[in-house]
């Protein structure tokens, strides 16, 4: 039986918050819980196609530890969540417009499309909402 859907609004580009969003999204999705992630503001920059890990993941002291200890890569966790569970990632259409990007500027195989904030908030009324 599917659980209450989880909606994650990811706006921060900090490595630590990206990592937690990826962990929540992947674990939620593989636990028979529908998960949708809306990615906007600085967070969208971390999803740039082909970005090397040292520029993709920028953060503080814990980011350094995550890198030193080879914690699971956030993009890999999002991908695993999609492969093994019901996880959808949406790129904020405003963020794409401001950046001058199309969906093909983002890492392949992760995004289900672009979405506006109004639609995401409307969908999220039916589940648990988390902002990072």
């Amino acid at each position: 039986m599917a659980s209450n859907p989880l909606y994650i609004m990811l706006c921060s580009g900090e490595h630590e918050k990206l990592q937690m969003a990826a962990m929540m999204a992947s674990v939620g999705a593989v636990s028979e819980r529908p998960v949708e992630v809306f990615i906007s503001m600085n967070a969208i920059l971390a999803f740039a196609k082909g970005a090397p890990a040292d520029t993709r993941y920028q953060g503080g002291a814990f980011s350094k530890l995550l890198k030193e200890n080879h914690a699971p890569d956030a993009m890999t966790l999002f991908r695993q969540g999609k492969e093994l569970g019901d996880l959808k990632l949406w790129a904020c259409s405003m963020a794409l417009d401001v950046k001058g990007w199309e969906l093909n500027a983002l890492t392949d195989g992760l995004f289900d499309g672009a979405m506006g904030l109004t639609k995401f908030l409307s969908d999220a009324e039916n589940g648990q909402f988390v902002t990072l």
């Binding site: 674990v27 593989v30 200890n69 699971p72 695993q80 093994l84």
Partner: protein
């Protein structure tokens, strides 16, 4: 006859061991067992919780020197 597969996830951080288990569960037959070796302390509670939630079966958890052996049976 059931088969036991082994995953050595020692050194992997949360949620790595759980993700490796789930990927392996997709590949094995119902009734097969998977033994996960994990040095991640969270796995000791996280994996049984996940197994219960998605209705597979826990076979057992054994503590070793520096890691745990967590055995799961695919039930569906």
């Amino acid at each position: 006859m059931s088969v036991k597969q082994k995953i050595d996830a020692r050194g992997a951080f949360c949620p790595g061991p759980l993700m490796e288990l789930i990927a392996m569960l997709k590949l094995v037959e119902i009734g097969d067992e998977i033994e996960v070796w994990s040095s991640d302390k969270g796995s000791v509670s996280d994996i049984p919780q996940w197994v219960s939630k998605v209705r597979h079966e826990m076979v057992g958890v054994t503590q070793h020197d520096g890691y745990w052996s967590i055995v799961v049976r695919k039930a569906k």
